[in-house]
Symmetry: C2
Subunit: 234 residues, 2 copies
């Protein structure tokens, strides 16, 4: 983690522990430099990071202010680290349905921008929040980037494994979403009825280098999932 | 519009007109400075703006690259300017159901952080995309910030009116989302059946000053709406 990211995390923790509400003022730039004993440019970068994440807003000539906190239990849509980190106060568990090293389909090839002779891990998991089904997730990981996955790893947070063990730097993601009616088979897996509503999310995750490595299709249980999205003024 | 925002818009237009795909390289920083005849700091700010918006990514020591373009017809979830700007290649029309100056409910007061004696414009609109119902939108605008609205204005893009005529600087937004089943009355307005799926979105828009001015609740027609979200590496 870079210095400014570390400082950004500390400032965010302080905002939470101080219980700052929407519109409440943070210390001035010079006070933050003194508090965290870092250079001005590090604080400026940390603040712009927090601004982009929707944690603070800055008003020229006026100061730095806290943004509204999301309601507990909402999944942050902008988060790139998987929702394990986002819902860490909740009991998240996983049931692995399928884990298989396979050749990519046309759809996977076009998303992961790989050739037909590439290998991908095809992982299907049911994820639970506090014992209730949260979603059914089907993911394709490019073996070239993620050389090894097994049941133990995928039962846990795959993203933790990628960042902590494989030391991958996860960069950005593209998400496409729509709402639809459940098919019979999927409904059964989610414990719902055919034609019940669902949120369908298609995600493509990239390393900071721009290499796509994870293509995922997730179907969310409409009664057990809710989402939050904070956009900044950029 | 600030200089760097203007340059960011120009660079984005160039990316689109050049048809750059995911991973295709932009000119170097020094080339961009020469091309646009602006200072280094303006280009750096423009690039960080484009990065936060998911238009480009920057790889240290390697260069500046285009991100994947969203598929046509998808609504950008991070956009703060209303979706009129986002779907401008589509025929967007509006039917005004209700426009009324009223006292705020408890719910509106807590969201717009106003007192019981404040006045709000309560606007209900059906919005259509290419003649099909896109969503039912119920909005509350704080009169203190938006002193006047009439049927002509709300039939058009309210956000265009706010930025072009009232010269308001729209800052950021909070969105809460969930999927659910339609009630009978809403289903009828959307041309759907009771218990059909829908995306429910609650949005709160702020000026750059941090003042909340628009609280909206939108119900999207599940067959006519789809969404896109690009997150950056911050």
């Amino acid at each position: 983690m870079l210095k400014y990211q570390e400082i950004a995390k500390k400032i965010e923790k302080k905002i939470i522990s101080d219980g700052l509400a929407q519109g409440e003022k943070l210390p001035s730039l010079s006070q933050l430099i003194a508090d965290y004993q870092v250079s001005k440019s590090t604080i400026v970068k940390a603040l712009s990071n927090l601004e982009a994440k929707g944690v603070i807003y800055q008003v020229q000539g006026s100061g730095i202010f806290a943004r509204r906190r999301k309601k507990a239990g909402y999944i942050n849509m902008v988060e790139n680290q998987g929702f394990t980190s986002d819902l860490d106060k909740f009991d998240l568990t996983t049931k692995v349905i399928n884990i298989q090293l396979t050749a990519p389909s046309e759809e996977v090839m076009s998303n992961l921008q790989c050739e037909a002779d590439a290998e991908v891990y095809h992982i299907t998991r049911l994820r639970y929040i506090n014992g209730q089904v949260l979603c059914l997730e089907e993911s394709f990981y490019l073996k070239e980037v993620v050389p090894y996955l097994n049941e133990t790893i995928v039962t846990d947070s795959i993203f933790n494994y990628l960042t902590s063990d494989l030391k991958l730097n996860i960069g950005f993601s593209d998400k496409h979403l729509h709402v639809g009616k459940l098919q019979a088979e999927t409904a059964q897996m989610l414990g719902l009825k055919p034609a019940d509503p669902a949120l369908y999310m298609e995600e493509l995750f990239y390393l900071v280098s721009g290499q796509a490595f994870d293509y995922s299709k997730t179907i969310y249980h409409y009664e057990h999932s809710q989402f939050f999205l904070q956009s900044s003024s950029v």
